[in-house]
């Protein structure tokens, strides 16, 4: 219990408001269900409070939600990315700053640079774009790092 909590972090009891270090709750050591338990019992009132990050199920659900958000591209911190552009649209590249350096060099070598317009041909299972009659396929992990201007519909095919 409490293993997922950062060292020194305190919990506030939801019932009595008492603040305590969940790793120091003496009752847990003697509890037969203590191993793997994601709750911490308040030493003041005995109320069981969930430890943030303590539940494997919650962590799994959070990871799945993050992955889903990532796929939809809604986790992009600023502006739309190529991962969000629809197949068949055109996109104007604005930035490659969030693309890993090695892949950025590759994209630049193909002419995918700020200001250039690409035709988005496909988005799954990888992104495929056409630039100047050359087709380039790259993973969503890369297209998520490519910032674009607002996509327009009806790109050339």
């Amino acid at each position: 219990m409490g293993e997922a909590l950062a060292a020194g972090a305190e919990l506030s009891c939801g019932l009595c408001g008492h603040r305590f270090d969940p790793r120091g709750t003496s009752a847990c050591a003697s509890c037969p269900l203590g191993k793997g338990c994601s709750l911490a019992c308040c030493p003041n009132c005995g109320y069981g409070a969930p430890v943030p990050g303590g539940s494997a199920v919650v962590r799994l659900a959070a990871r799945a939600a993050a992955a889903l958000r990532g796929r939809r591209g809604v986790s992009a911190p600023s502006g739309p990315t190529l991962a969000e552009a629809a197949a068949g649209s055109q996109a104007t590249i604005e930035t490659l700053e969030r693309v890993p350096a090695r892949q950025r060099e590759q994209l630049l070598a193909y002419g995918i640079a700020p200001g250039r317009v690409v035709d988005v041909l496909q988005t799954r299972p990888v992104t495929i774009v056409r630039i100047e009659h050359a087709e380039l396929a790259f993973e969503t992990a890369v297209s998520r790092g490519i910032g674009i201007a607002e996509p327009s519909e009806g790109g050339r095919q």
Partner: protein
């Protein structure tokens, strides 16, 4: 095969050690180097210029080493074909080959081969190459495809702007090749007029003062280095004090306020755009057509898989049913079994003494075993496979396979690009090991090499397996394929977690799907068959002679007896299978053929056939592949792989024998 004969040690002078010097080049006309992006037709052009054929295909990375030939047209100059590059800085091993070659300081003419359809990208590289201050000519290849796509280039205007010859060609038909051969003899040196910001020019000027003579343009090498090219850095580091380059870059970046690579790229892109605006017109043409539709289908998230299944089914029907089934049946039974071998055995026995008769036509006879295996069993299989594979290569499907399979390779810590060497491994694992150079990191090259030697059967073995297990039942083939795939995936998954380093995401160019040219398919197939006959037949004969000598001296029965606990006790196979495993150490397809014959003679049950084929499939492919792994990955890794693969093969075979016995599937 072409490419593997090229030697990396002929680079001379300049940035490379004197020990590398083999053939110094005295005049630019003595050597002409073809440089360019991947998949633009350099190797086809090389063939046109020299009359020498190197493997060409419709996917990037076909050439991973340099090839040399003599120019047919004039003066006997040497023409060098180089691996295609994505651009500078060089990233993968094959790109470094080009970078090193350009920086070695030898006097030579550089001919850039570019794709006329992607002229802006071509010009970006042109500007980098012109900075090296070498005699230069630009070839705009595939100009027929550019015409079809509505790209109108004015070569005269472009030539005027660049100050070098610009020649449109169609290498596959030979259009423009004679003009090129004439133009290279007078190729001028021109300076790229790219306007770099003052801090970049200051850094280059400082570098030129510090370096002095380099044997190659210091400005060109310096700009490559500033662009992040590690080969250029290695080259310059030999001429300046330690820390000089780091300080110079830091100073330039401080003045620019951003990474210098980005500044250089932007400046070149801007100049390339100006050139395009002056010399290129783009007509709007409706895209589409059946091939483009097929191309889309083959990378579709859902339909990509049925397309893959259809391709595999087609290969199975052509190689497994037609080659390994019908053709092998005709040759083995009708031609060799009933006519050639009985006649030869009688004639030889009549003329030669017993020892010579046994050596030629006995149980382990050079003809009755070595040549019969090579010509009656393997040759029809590899012929059909090479034909099918050449069609697949030229169609441009293979890079699309990389897209479809990317997710599978993701679980192995790789990206879909690994599919290219893996599929090439179905043709020849030795050549595929060389092709791992197209992968970007040492880690990826190591992982793919391990998977290649472990579980990718080469064409000959695949044909034997399909022919033998296909004749038993579909279930037998599926069990073999399932077990081998499971072992490859498990070992790959584990290795990806043990070998340090990170997976790199997939970035790959997709060439247009094309209808394969029959002449190219036929040439490639014949070339590969020639390689097969030259490399494989001697090994088959050597292996047969080895077995014959062991048999004659009484050692073979002792070895078979010694291997009994492993072969009979652990794998549950008859003792005679030991001889097949013994020659399997030399070439696993040779061993597989021995097992094929045992099965044909009724000495192996269905269950034993599956166990034997799984075991030998997991062997190291052949002696040649071990040698190439030593060359590419080093002795330690080659020894480590061998030490893993052989015990694992027997372990999996024994476990499968027990699993089939317990479940009753083997019956």
């Amino acid at each position: 095969m072409a490419g593997c004969k090229g030697c990396l040690t002929f680079w001379a002078m300049g940035c490379h050690a004197a020990s590398d010097l083999v053939e110094p080049v005295s005049s630019p006309l003595d050597e002409i180097v073809l440089v360019g992006h991947s998949n633009v037709g350099k190797s086809v052009l090389f063939g046109r210029l020299t009359g020498r054929y190197v493997t060409v295909a419709n996917y990037p990375g076909t050439t991973v080493d340099v090839s040399r030939g003599t120019l047919r047209a004039a003066g006997g100059a040497v023409v060098v074909d180089t691996p295609g590059i994505v651009g500078f800085p060089a990233r993968s091993e094959d790109e470094r080959v080009v970078s090193r070659l350009l920086l070695d300081g030898g006097a030579r003419t550089v001919v850039q081969v570019g794709n006329a359809r992607g002229v802006r990208r071509t010009l970006d590289l042109t500007l980098q190459l012109l900075e090296l201050d070498v005699p230069f000519a630009l070839v705009l290849n595939m100009s027929d495809e550019a015409d079809a796509a509505g790209v109108r280039i004015d070569p005269e205007r472009l030539s005027e702007l660049l100050g070098v010859p610009v020649l449109p060609t169609v290498a596959t038909t030979g259009t423009g090749v004679d003009e090129l051969a004439a133009a290279v003899s007078a190729a001028p040196t021109a300076r790229a007029e790219v306007a770099y910001p003052a801090p970049v020019e200051r850094a280059i000027a400082t570098l030129m003062d510090a370096v002095g003579e380099l044997g190659v343009s210091v400005r060109g090498a310096g700009l490559l280095w500033l662009g992040g090219d590690e080969e250029a850095q290695l080259c310059l580091e030999r001429h300046v004090p330690a820390g000089f380059l780091t300080a110079l870059r830091a100073e330039a970046e401080q003045a620019l306020g951003e990474p210098v690579e980005a500044v250089l790229q932007r400046a070149r892109a801007s100049r390339a755009s100006e050139l395009v605006a002056e010399a290129v017109e783009q007509e709007d043409r409706p895209a589409g057509g059946t091939l483009e539709w097929l191309g889309r289908l083959s990378t579709h998230r859902v339909w990509g898989w049925p397309v893959l299944v259809a391709v595999l089914a087609g290969i199975y029907m052509f190689v497994g049913v037609l080659g390994a089934g019908w053709l092998v049946g005709v040759l083995e039974n009708s031609v060799f079994g009933r006519r050639v071998n009985p006649w030869l055995t009688t004639e030889v026995a009549r003329v030669l003494p017993r020892f010579a008769t046994d050596l030629l036509v006995g149980n382990y006879g050079l003809w009755t075993m070595g040549m019969t295996y090579a010509l009656a069993l393997i040759l029809p299989i590899v012929t059909t496979f090479f034909l099918a594979f050449s069609v697949l290569e030229d169609s441009g499907y293979l890079p699309r396979l990389a897209v479809v399979s990317n997710r599978v390779f993701n679980t192995l810590g790789l990206n879909g690009k690994a599919a290219l060497p893996m599929v090439l491994g179905l043709g020849c694992v030795t050549m595929a090991t060389l092709t791992t150079r197209i992968l970007e990191s040492r880690r990826e090259r190591l992982l793919v090499t391990l998977l290649l030697v472990l579980g990718i059967p080469c064409s000959a073995q695949l044909g034997v397996v399909l022919g033998m297990l296909g004749a038993i039942s579909l279930a037998a083939t599926l069990i073999w394929a399932g077990v081998v795939a499971a072992v490859v995936l498990t070992v790959g998954w584990l290795a990806a977690r043990v070998v340090p380093g990170e997976r790199s995401p997939l970035v790959i160019e997709l060439p247009p799907l094309r209808v394969p040219r029959p002449a190219n398919v036929a040439t490639k197939t014949l070339m590969r068959l020639e390689w097969y006959l030259r490399e494989v037949v001697p090994l088959f004969l050597l292996g047969t002679a080895f077995l014959f000598m062991l048999d004659e001296t009484g050692v073979l029965p002792a070895i078979i007896d010694g291997m009994r606990p492993l072969v009979t006790g652990w794998l549950g196979l008859p003792p005679a299978a030991s001889a097949a495993f013994l020659i399997g150490f030399l070439r696993r397809d040779f061993g597989a053929t021995g097992l094929f014959v045992l099965h044909a003679q009724g000495q192996l049950s269905a269950e034993q056939a599956v166990v034997a084929m799984v075991t030998i499939t997991l062997f190291i492919p052949c002696v040649a592949s071990i040698l190439i792994i030593v060359r590419e990955r080093g002795l330690r890794q080659a020894v480590a792989m061998t030490a893993i693969v052989f015990p694992l093969a027997f372990l999996v075979g024994g476990l499968l024998h027990r699993a089939l016995t317990v479940t009753g599937l083997g019956a």
